[in-house]
Symmetry: C2
Subunit: 382 residues, 2 copies
Amino acid sequence: MSQQGEDVVRAVYRLAPLGGDDVASFTARALALARESTLEVPVGVASASIEGGLLGRVIGVEPDADGAATARIDYPAAVLDGSLPQLLNVLHGNVSLLPGVRLVDATLPESVLEAFAGPRFGIGGIRDRLDAHDRPLVAVALKPVGLQTSELAELAAAFARAGVDVIKDDHGVTDQAPSRFSDRVGAVAKAVAEANAATGGRTAYYVNVTGPVDTMGERVEQAAEVGCGGVLVAPGLVGLDTMRALADAEPALPVMAHPSRGDVGPGRDSGVSPEVWYGLLYRLAGADAVVYVNAGGRFAWSIDTCQGLNRRLRAPLGRLRASFPVPAGGVSASDAPSWFERYGTDTLLLIGGSLLAQDDVEGAARRLVEQAHAAGSTPAPS
Amino acid sequence: MSQQGEDVVRAVYRLAPLGGDDVASFTARALALARESTLEVPVGVASASIEGGLLGRVIGVEPDADGAATARIDYPAAVLDGSLPQLLNVLHGNVSLLPGVRLVDATLPESVLEAFAGPRFGIGGIRDRLDAHDRPLVAVALKPVGLQTSELAELAAAFARAGVDVIKDDHGVTDQAPSRFSDRVGAVAKAVAEANAATGGRTAYYVNVTGPVDTMGERVEQAAEVGCGGVLVAPGLVGLDTMRALADAEPALPVMAHPSRGDVGPGRDSGVSPEVWYGLLYRLAGADAVVYVNAGGRFAWSIDTCQGLNRRLRAPLGRLRASFPVPAGGVSASDAPSWFERYGTDTLLLIGGSLLAQDDVEGAARRLVEQAHAAGSTPAPS
């Protein structure tokens, strides 16, 4: 809340040094940023009431120890319109094109949160559907691209027999000739259902519905018709609001969000922090589970970044449900117990390629499942 | 084309130095990148036919003078599925999350281009609709956010009387309380039509349809119904493929694309070059005119970057029409003649805030129009 008592979005930016920096130059950059994100006209063009009511306000500019500065800016909620595209535009629209500006934190008031339904299932809803409580969950991936639909269905059946919680398509398995979406969705769902019937299990198949945006609604319908337990969406490829629209629409299926294509890399001078992008905005856009690239894998993210992201996905956020953190990306199955311990029970661990590299994929998946059951309930680190 | 004669997408990445770099380490990074973008499984998991047919191929890795390296990778077209999201995923999906990788060039074979209709109007179609040939065009912006619909309509009438070619909404003027989309679209279109009727002019109003993705089709329909000359879309906020779907659908209106929210800043170690993002991918996604942040304005882009972008928007690209380059972003009206000379006739120059800062906005707009007419036909620099 600002001094006037009206609602504001509080954004925090890291301003990288650009040479010859001092507090005055950082402050000038913060003022320009606040104007760029809102009025986008030179001083003197807008009326006093518009300048007073809609211009972003620089609340503080503090030099950091590393030569950068932290700028805090309050955006009046009245500059928003209740939509995710306009929220993105204000937080990180034109300013994404400025040199040395990184969005590192954002806090939304209740009045802004109210416009978003958020996850329809969330951690609790996914657990109920899988009948998997009081333990971490495990997911595996169907890949690589190039496998025939029948081969993917066989692989899925093996994973289901092993009792994994979620089988997801690789995000790169879309609608290529060896496995068209319309063939795969039914064939794999059937293979998983048959394995579940044999074992009494509840394994869910999350089919990848990422594709041309004007086909995605239909793909979700097909997924629901054949009994898929959820869908995979890569909002970096189709737009965050495309995921939001699917999550809000019927039929209702859990949405797992894939991190492909983000300008989020830790340590960069530009872009958005993973905690804000995946931890806040993916959740706001309705992701029930959020895949991210885990520390220790192929992507060089720190444990602190991952823990920060986990916290944001689980922390109270208006009336929005919590989303499952899904660490992935070069995570080895043999390390699963240590990740369960580190990240706590409300974690859905995704093991991809390292499982497929085993001679006995089904046996390896079964050991992973046993590890998840053995982990039981572990409190999340604070 | 690869040695085997099959179609490939050729991508060029800049690999930033990460410390301790030599040709071997750059090559290892290029090989990992090619695998990440396609199969995303460890060596040995995929069959020989999948590795041979779908894995990205490192064609060359060359050290650059600045300590970075340039990696050329060919992606077999068979890894694509004819959709823009999957093309994005292969060019810059998971690899966008790797440290120090920047996509700096991409070349698409005919078989890939064929899946995309591209701009429906392009430079020629926009000129025909405006009856504006053999000269550069000028556009202006309605802003700031906070103005009432009636005030925006008055401003638009003044611009239309002055004879500007295109009046666009500011991309931050969306659906806020002072000017709801459904009110503004008709009121401003009417004001412009009345001014055109009085002057005999052909000024077009491009209304901003950026919003919740499940409302955008309806907004385009409303725009067509009330006689808008085109629409403004910010694909960075709603997804590139959302623009593509609108551009492919009925009703047919020219699409002007806004650059808000891109990970494109020149000089960055990550992201995508503006030439590829705005020059290739926006055009592929159907933008008839592409707004970008001009050199000499608020955004510190170089002339070389802007000229490279202009070239990509206008150069032959399969059967796709050329898109109008729209330099903007802190361009001063008084500098218009020099930009016409520098960028050539096939340029749509957008003057925003600097025009609004004049005491006599209509007079200033009229001088801008006179400058465009005086510029006449100037060949584009090669």
